[in-house]
């Protein structure tokens, strides 16, 4: 049974059409992200898949340290050194970024008030907006001579340089997310802890941080994802050298930087071109897993 208001509501007036069209636009907007991500995955898989099946020796791919894909007679497609390069730079970046960003997040969320707080939040976001090529320049022109001077090493383009740069790049995003996680802890937790006679430090250390644990972990994982995916700054600051790092003063090369440096110069469809896409697939899977893990962990806090 329909009553009168229902019928009026269903009348196709201008408002109804606006309503419908907005609905469609929002739907397309929402679904396009999924379409694009699938499209991208299909594209990179299509370009690299034939190679993975026909030519590539997966064992060699992951365990060989030799990368000379353009060799005419005997091309080598080992990405072990590149994986270790990316991992070492990201690892060092996290060692630098985690204390800074968590410290900053705790300060912004728990201690800073009024103008200081607002100013800090804006500044942190501004820091996140610096283009990566600018960070790369800093690595190349400021950090490079500085590292040579300070540590007496032959080259300043190395794991240390790229790790510091990447740490500074990842910290703002991690700070923002970590701060949100801390803010999400209900005030009654803090009040309860204070009522029990806890000092400010004890409140944060014993109550707020454990309660925000998942969100903080999620922030760290997103930072790791950023580190894995970063290209330009890493290309400029690592020294771009296929090398298994023995110390932070060794030059390395990252997976992303290898694609960036070589893809433009390969013939479409050649083995070299396809192996670069294979690296792309590998990176895609890694960052996907990291983001998925971060997402699941962040989701965890809402349920708990």
């Amino acid at each position: 049974m329909m009553n009168k208001t229902d019928i009026e509501f269903d009348k196709r007036t201008l408002d109804w059409y606006i309503d419908k069209s907005v609905q469609v636009i929002v739907f397309i907007g929402g679904i396009s992200a999924i379409i694009f991500i699938i499209g991208i995955f299909v594209f990179i898989t299509k370009e690299g898949f034939g190679f993975i099946v026909n030519t590539l020796d997966i064992g060699e791919f992951f365990t060989s340290e030799y990368w000379s894909p353009s060799d005419e007679d005997d091309p080598e497609y080992g990405i072990l050194a590149l994986i270790l390069g990316t991992a070492s730079v990201t690892g060092l970046a996290m060692i630098i970024a985690i204390p800074f960003s968590l410290g900053a997040a705790v300060y912004i969320a728990e201690f800073a008030t009024g103008k200081t707080r607002e100013a800090l939040k804006v500044l942190v976001e501004l820091l996140a907006a610096i283009p990566s090529v600018v960070w790369g320049f800093i690595g190349l022109t400021i950090m490079n001579p500085l590292i040579i001077e300070l540590f007496d090493v032959p080259v300043g383009l190395n794991v240390l340089n790229a790790g510091v740069i990447l740490g500074l790049m990842a910290a703002p995003i991690m700070t923002s997310i970590a701060e949100d996680a801390l803010k999400a802890v209900p005030d009654r937790y803090r009040e309860a802890a204070e009522a029990m006679g806890a000092t400010r430090w004890q409140v944060i250390y014993k109550t707020v941080l454990p309660a925000a644990k998942n969100g903080l972990l999620g922030a760290i994982l997103l930072g790791v994802g950023r580190g894995f995916g970063e290209t330009m700054a890493v290309l400029m600051a690592t020294g771009h050298s296929v090398n298994i790092p023995g110390s932070v003063f060794d030059s390395v090369r990252a997976l992303t930087a290898t694609i960036a440096a070589e893809l433009g110069e390969t013939a479409v469809g050649s083995d070299h071109y396809q192996v670069l896409f294979t690296i792309g697939i590998f990176l895609f899977i890694i960052t996907f897993l990291i983001n998925l893990a971060a997402d699941l962990i962040v989701r965890g806090i809402r349920k708990g």
């Binding site: 699938i38 771009h240 110069e265 013939a267």
Partner: protein
């Protein structure tokens, strides 16, 4: 998904349309070798005065870039500081291209050292031991020298990215087709090599002679116990410098029309004097009046 495909098709169709339009005016697309890019630009600029109806658009990126573009059919002339590999020629033919090689000059590949480096002459064998995989020379002391400012004596080996023509030529001429050692710093342009060597006392690098500056040292090079020859335009053209290479331009099929006019002009006295003035050796003796 279908919508997405339609959208992409629309974009690519419009890109093709604009591309086709640009081609219909007399623009010669010229791309490739970083070694040749300065000369190619100078040629393009001078050619404006010769024939103002034709514009030559020059871009660099490395021999690999130019050759890839030739294979994909997106350039009229590809510059290369190495020959196209057989595989690449075959790939191009499969795609309906027919690359024809034109030698437009010669280039001496200079070895660069920091200017405090006391080494004044090197043999091809010494270079090989420094650059080849598992080579014996890892420290300057292995060559019997110590370099001031280089504390731990370790040789910082500077190379190029693996699809640069300079890289390919060096590999063929010095490493005898052997592989480069791991841990070379692979720079993304000839200029970057010179800049890095300039700032790094422990470094050794190689690049086209035209990129030499006053801030780096260039040793003379000996091959097979012969005389030690300094890299220069003269020693590159008379063939006495052991690591000099031809510089090439590839056209798609025998050049015709405006492209033929341009290639002819490049190989004329006027064009060859431009390459000479940029620090490369011309293909034949020309009198440039200097």
């Amino acid at each position: 998904m279908k919508k997405n495909i339609l959208f992409l098709t629309a974009i690519s169709a419009s890109l093709l349309a604009t591309h086709g339009f640009a081609q219909s005016r007399d623009t010669i697309q010229n791309k490739g070798s970083d070694t040749l890019v300065n000369v190619a630009q100078a040629w393009a600029e001078e050619y404006q005065k010769v024939n103002e109806n034709v514009a030559v658009a020059v871009s660099g990126g490395g021999s690999g870039t130019g050759i890839a573009a030739m294979i994909n059919g997106t350039v009229d002339i590809a510059n290369a500081s190495r020959k196209m590999k057989e595989k690449e020629i075959k790939l191009a033919q499969d795609k309906g291209q027919n690359p024809i090689e034109h030698i437009v000059g010669f280039d001496a590949l200079a070895i660069f050292l920091h200017k405090d480096n006391p080494i004044k002459s090197m043999t091809i064998e010494q270079l090989r031991e420094i650059y080849i995989r598992d080579g014996k020379s890892e420290k300057w002391t292995d060559l019997g020298e110590s370099v001031p400012g280089c504390k731990n004596d370790e040789i910082v080996v500077v190379s190029r990215q693996n699809n640069s023509g300079t890289y390919a030529y060096f590999k063929q001429a010095v490493l005898d087709k052997g592989k480069f050692r791991s841990g070379t710093l692979d720079m993304h342009g000839s200029k970057d090599v010179v800049e890095l060597v300039e700032k790094t006392p422990c470094a050794i690098g190689y690049s086209g002679l035209a990129y030499a500056t006053d801030h780096v040292a260039m040793p003379c090079v000996t091959s097979d116990g012969g005389e030690c020859v300094q890299p220069s335009v003269e020693t590159a053209s008379d063939g006495s410098y052991p690591i000099a290479r031809p510089l090439m331009m590839y056209t798609n099929g025998e050049p015709e029309g405006e492209i033929k006019n341009y290639m002819d002009w490049v190989l004329s006295d006027e064009g060859q004097c431009i390459i000479f003035n940029k620090g490369y050796a011309p293909v034949r003796d020309v009198n440039c009046g200097t």
